[in-house]
């Protein structure tokens, strides 16, 4: 009984406490919010091991069971190990067991020591971040440029009134943002401004109203224990 009821009680208590917290400006209330946010970051950090285990297990099984593409799982392991080893070597030891001052030759040597390893700017992990992760992220982000064109090509066929309105609005906005629009007709930038300030605002506000009410209703159902799917098992 308690195994089922205790989580619901905790959800109720947390929900009510943080509704009330919003209306209490006292420093204690602000500190409570700061503490819980910090706690959630710590919990999230500890839970990362769960995720790491899941990912490594998935790729380990790919290799172990000789599944197609197991070589790439090996590449994944290799890249992962390089990042972790580069990130953790001596800088971690230095954090837990700081280098005694007497063993340090000069400030430049310490700086060089940190440069080779650790998270600081100019470190090896920072190098991997700048030359690996950053270009990869930027590339994936830029691929959206291609996809947006193909999505537009597929979607912007005026088969219905709705599709026509979608197409026209997009065209006016795109033209209005460039000098070409003004060159074609001086009214295009004004139409763009009107579309953004009037029908766009109206629809967005209404959708936000709906989202607000839907999310508040959903939150109330969670707090009052009506919505329990996140706990697993029957509602």
């Amino acid at each position: 009984m308690i195994k089922r009821q205790l989580p619901l009680l905790i959800a109720f208590a947390m929900g009510v406490i943080f509704i009330i917290q919003f209306f209490i400006p006292h420093q204690i209330s602000q500190d409570l919010l700061t503490w819980v946010n910090k706690w959630l970051m710590i919990i999230g950090g500890i839970s990362l091991l769960l995720g790491i285990y899941s990912l490594l297990n998935f790729h380990y099984l790919q290799i172990f069971r000789n599944k197609p593409g197991w070589g790439f799982s090996l590449i994944m392991f290799f890249s992962f190990l390089i990042s972790v080893v580069v990130g953790f070597t001596p800088s971690l030891i230095n954090v837990i067991l700081p280098l005694p001052e007497s063993s340090v030759q000069s400030a430049e040597q310490v700086k060089e020591w940190y440069r080779i390893t650790g998270l600081k700017d100019g470190s090896s992990l920072d190098w991997i971040f700048r030359h690996g992760i950053t270009p990869l992220s930027a590339t994936m982000f830029s691929i959206i440029g291609f996809f947006i064109a193909s999505a537009a090509f597929r979607a912007f066929r005026a088969r219905s009134l709705e599709a026509t309105l979608l197409l026209l609005a997009a065209v006016f906005i795109m033209l209005g943002q460039t000098p070409l629009g003004g060159m074609l007709w001086s009214g295009i930038p004004d139409i763009m401004t009107w579309i953004l300030s009037t029908p766009n605002t109206a629809a967005k506000r209404a959708i936000l109203f709906g989202i607000a009410m839907g999310s508040i209703s959903f939150s109330l159902k969670i707090i009052f224990g009506i919505e329990r799917a996140y706990l697993g098992g029957k509602n």
Binding site: P25, L55, A151, R154, G210, L220
Partner: protein, 407 residues
């Protein structure tokens, strides 16, 4: 007589050249100077107000605030103020008299105007206000004192509190109504009806279903809504003896999804078919996650893709790749910025509120459907407020507008 005229003209010109002296001589000492603890805050701040007088109400007239730890001084200059406005409804209310007061907040105690290291106010502090001409003081107010303290209730948010209470009662009322009358009408939501069709198609083709929970963590309502829908989808998948893959971006979301899917398979009487490895963590990085899911899609070629939850820029990367492999795609998100992309690339899209309604729609339980009725009632109320408020605003009645003011 001409010499009188010359004297008179000379006097007039003297007055003209020295009209600023005349202007300063009309300044009056500050009136009704008051100090009090700044309301609705965490403490650490004292508020000062004084009445607006037309003689002093000029942009070039500076005020000087002085503070001391004792009523007799010594006095230390804190700050000079010019061009003050007078509109602070959060402290004076929304009536016209709000415009009759100037306002200033003091959060620390300075030893001089140029003190770069002021100390916080820790005891009752005495204040006086002077009006100056820039170089000398022309008049002082009376001495007042105040001490700050943290407040336990933010009165400026009372309208929000009332709305929370009203909305909660409305939802609970309609839920209890739904208990007595369980056959509440809910209109068709094509995107949710299509889920069964999508699962059937995937089963026929022998391909898996790909289910994404969005990129936010478990504290996000859209993710909770997505996991709720996942339970119902997983139950149908178990009944159809198909396969579902749930790549996750957050480890806690992954844990919750594993529980949810396991329970769904148990309820469907197929615990043997549950495979925990189908719900897995990929990475926390947004675009690494998108790249991995794209790779998953082109290699495993799922027959149906369900995107539920909150998405960011990667939404188009995912949905466009899914469209390219020919999967049936159903999206549900409250991310307004990404809805246009899902609308253009997916077969069905649940917009905003429909994501939160999905759980009630799929379960059809009275407790759930009753809340939808409550939402509709509140929406009707909003429409009424919109129309009445606009008409009232047109007539110059600002009561409704003020009711929804936030500070």
């Amino acid at each position: 007589m001409p010499w009188f005229r010359i004297l008179f003209l000379g006097l007039i010109s003297l007055l003209g050249f020295n009209n600023d002296i005349f202007a300063q001589n009309t300044l009056v000492s500050p009136q009704d100077f008051t100090a009090f603890d700044t309301p609705n805050d965490a403490g650490g701040s004292v508020s000062l107000t004084w009445r607006v007088v037309p003689e002093n109400n000029k942009p070039e007239v500076p005020y000087l605030i002085l503070a001391a730890t004792a009523p007799d001084g010594p006095w230390f200059e804190q700050t000079t103020l010019v061009n003050l406005k007078s509109d602070y409804p959060q402290y004076f209310g929304l009536s016209a008299s709000n415009k009759l007061w100037s306002y200033c907040e003091i959060t620390d105690f300075k030893q001089s105007l140029t003190d770069d290291n002021p100390k916080p106010i820790t005891a009752t502090t005495y204040f006086k206000l002077a009006v100056t001409d820039g170089s000398k003081t022309l008049g002082f107010s009376s001495v007042v004192s105040a001490m700050h303290q943290g407040n336990w209730f933010d009165a400026s948010k009372i309208n929000i509190l009332i709305f929370v209470v009203i909305f909660s009662f409305v939802i609970m009322f309609f839920i209890s109504l739904a208990r007595k009358n369980p056959d509440l009408f809910i209109r068709r939501i094509p995107g949710l009806d299509a889920i069964e069709e999508a699962i059937g198609r995937a089963t026929e083709m022998g391909k898996p279903i790909l289910y994404l929970n969005g990129l936010d963590g478990m504290g996000s309502l859209s993710t909770i809504a997505a996991t709720s829908i996942l339970g119902k989808v997983a139950r149908k998948v178990a009944n159809y003896d198909s396969q579902i893959k749930v790549p996750c971006r957050d480890p806690i979301v992954m844990s919750v999804c594993q529980e949810v899917v396991r329970e769904a398979y148990l309820e469907a009487g197929r615990p043997d078919a549950y495979n925990q490895d189908n719900i897995f963590f990929i990475t926390d990085d947004q675009f690494a996650y998108a790249a991995a899911v794209d790779g998953l899609m082109v290699r495993h070629k799922p027959a149906a893709n369900l995107y539920m939850g909150y998405y960011y820029a990667e939404s188009l990367l995912l949905a466009e790749t899914g469209a390219a492999i020919g999967a049936i795609q159903i999206a549900g998100t409250d991310s307004i910025t990404q809805l246009p992309f899902f609308i253009t690339t997916c077969d069905y899209t649940l917009m905003g509120e429909e994501l939160y309604a999905a759980s009630a729609y799929l379960s059809r339980e009275p407790l759930q459907t009753g809340s939808l009725k409550g939402q509709d009632f509140t929406k009707g109320l909003i429409i009424l407020i919109l129309i009445l408020g606009s008409l009232a605003s047109t007539a110059g009645i600002t009561f409704l507008v003020n009711l929804f003011k936030t500070f």
